[in-house]
């Protein structure tokens, strides 16, 4: 296993400890519940925005905690939603008079854990609401299933809601805002390799040397199909078309464009994809107002990338431009 790991069972708490040590003034870390929160939260004058999900998607989700972003987040084991207790304690520790908004990526495990935790918290009189993020267009939505998956679009929901919460928006306003962002953001990804969860010690799926998984999930779940690896531009075109046609986006739209690395793909390749995606957006008559190239929602060391488009309006543009700070920094 080509990984920096000590005891695989301790992988998650160990990297969370690193995050805390690297941000002593900003964050508190509670190992018992694998919970990271802002030192200055909760603040009764504003809603607490929290999340909790499986690990392996870093910087999502615990590394997205900070001013203008999340107030706190708890993590489960790699790819496993957090235990019910961790979700409950997260709500409890971040309970604010203004309320708590839980941003849940749409997976059954996360939903069941948060549903249970929210019931327990409400029973204690805590004001809390949930929102389910589901931006992945890879698998067609269906009434009879759990619905679409939540992937990299998650970043935009957090950024917008976090910025609005900082400005003092109410719980209901934030819920409406989360829905607005989610309704206007779409993503699809592709994997060139499978990742290896430390505790599993083996790949989740097998890909041939010349194969890719189109529409892969961020936990290595299958996507639309297995195919031969194509030139970067052809791959970008397929992601772009799938995403652009879903809402659909229209000529004249002002958009934010994201190329998200899945963990093992270097920045240089992501910019090759961005160059094509940007050109396609301009051809389609979209105005790229903001762009994001890097790692936002990963799948451990999986080689691959996802493309996300968010339709903007003046409110969203202002919220995306608002100052924010998270555990991961450049300078």
């Amino acid at each position: 296993m080509k990984k920096f790991v000590n005891d695989p069972a301790q992988f998650v708490p160990e990297f969370m400890k690193g995050v805390a040590l690297a941000n002593p003034d900003l964050l508190d870390f509670e190992p018992e519940f694998q919970l990271i929160k802002r030192k200055d939260a909760p603040n009764n004058s504003r809603v607490s925005v929290v999340q909790g999900s499986g690990s392996g998607h870093e910087p999502a989700h615990v590394m997205a905690v900070g001013p203008g972003m999340l107030d706190g987040a708890c993590q489960g084991a790699v790819f496993a939603a957090p235990p019910v207790d961790a979700c409950y304690e997260t709500i409890k520790r971040l309970a604010s008079d203004a309320g708590v908004l839980v941003l849940v990526n749409n997976y059954q495990g996360d939903r069941m854990a948060w549903d249970t935790a929210v019931e327990l918290a409400e029973a204690e009189g805590i004001k809390v609401k949930q929102f389910h993020i589901n931006d992945d267009v890879a698998v067609k939505d269906s009434l009879y299933t759990v619905g679409r998956r939540g992937v990299a679009g998650n970043f935009f929901v957090i950024k917008a809601v976090g910025a609005a919460a900082a400005k003092g928006a109410s719980l209901d306003e934030l819920l409406a805002l989360a829905e607005k962002v989610n309704n206007n953001v779409r993503t699809m990804g592709v994997a060139l390799t499978s990742c290896i969860p430390p505790a599993k010690g083996t790949t989740i799926f097998e890909l041939g040397d010349d194969e890719m998984e189109v529409g892969v999930g961020i936990h290595g779940e299958p996507g639309r199909r297995r195919d031969k690896i194509k030139p970067a531009d052809a791959i970008t075109d397929e992601l772009f078309d799938a995403v652009a046609q879903d809402i659909p986006f229209n000529s004249g739209d002002r958009i934010a464009l994201m190329i998200n690395g899945l963990g093992g793909t270097p920045l240089s390749e992501l910019y090759v994809l961005y160059a094509r995606a940007h050109a396609r957006a301009e051809q389609a008559g979209y105005k790229v107002v903001r762009n994001y190239v890097g790692e936002y929602c990963t799948s451990l060391e999986m080689a691959g990338a996802s493309l996300t488009i968010l339709k903007l309006d003046s409110e969203l543009e202002a919220l995306l431009a608002a100052p924010a700070e998270v555990a991961v920094r450049i300078f």
Binding site: P83, V84, G109, V139, R148, E221
Partner: protein, 226 residues
């Protein structure tokens, strides 16, 4: 047929823990086919705690013990398995409060309560390709046997194991409609559901533990016991 003692239930739980730990990687590999490959690890995390803390668990009565198990699962098990197994233990605990032995009827009622709880929690129905597709048929055999169907507990165990075993092949071709696997559309068809397999493997090991002879059918079981 004689009642089922708390000791027998405790032995079944310890057997289950051993089965889950022994199959950790196998269950995760099965989950990798249409899911995210963590099922075995999530379950093992919980049952490892149960095994390690076994002596200290309050076993005043069956209900108390199951409630403690439910709390341990809620504290340590993540993924869908946490809420599902935690709810299951919790609901079974509620209908066995104060009891130190149960009739087969009461055992069936415990499983029935667990099934209802899991359905309420996750919204899955029979045929959605989740472990409920194993638990519901098993529940039927228990009720039938309780109504005089089975000669002894061994025969009941065998009927239950048969039902779970059958569920593996009966659901293999289906597309999942609940759980992560339901989010991959037709890509979930023709892969066994790890939760169903886990129930069948556990019941098969119960048979072995209680000396009940039974030849498994589904390839996942023959591979496993091989």
């Amino acid at each position: 047929m004689s009642d089922i003692s708390q000791a027998q239930i405790e032995r079944a739980i310890q057997t289950t823990a051993a089965t889950v730990l022994k199959n950790e990687h196998y269950f995760s590999d099965l989950d990798g086919l249409a899911g995210d490959g963590d099922f075995g690890t999530s379950l093992a995390t919980g049952f490892r705690v149960i095994q390690n803390d076994w002596e200290t668990i309050d076993k005043a009565d069956i209900g108390t013990m199951l409630l403690k198990l439910s709390m341990m699962v809620s504290k340590h098990v993540g993924g869908s398995s946490g809420p599902i197994w935690g709810t299951g233990f919790m609901r079974a605990a509620m209908v066995s409060k104060g009891k130190t032995s149960v009739t087969l009827d009461e055992l069936a009622a415990m499983l029935g309560a667990a099934i209802e709880g899991i359905q309420a929690r996750g919204g899955a129905q029979l045929g959605d390709k989740t472990l409920l597709d194993a638990l519901i048929p098993v529940h039927e055999t228990l009720t039938r046997d309780a109504a005089g169907g089975a000669a002894d507990l061994g025969a009941t165990l065998k009927d239950a194991a048969d039902a779970a075993d059958t569920a593996i092949d009966a659901t293999r071709g289906l597309e999942a409609r609940r759980g992560r696997a339901s989010q991959v559309g037709e890509r979930s068809a023709n892969t066994p559901d790890p939760g169903i397999v886990a129930i069948a493997v556990i019941l098969q090991d119960w048979c072995t533990e209680y000396g009940v002879a039974r030849t498994p059918k589904a390839p996942e079981l023959t591979r496993e016991t091989a």
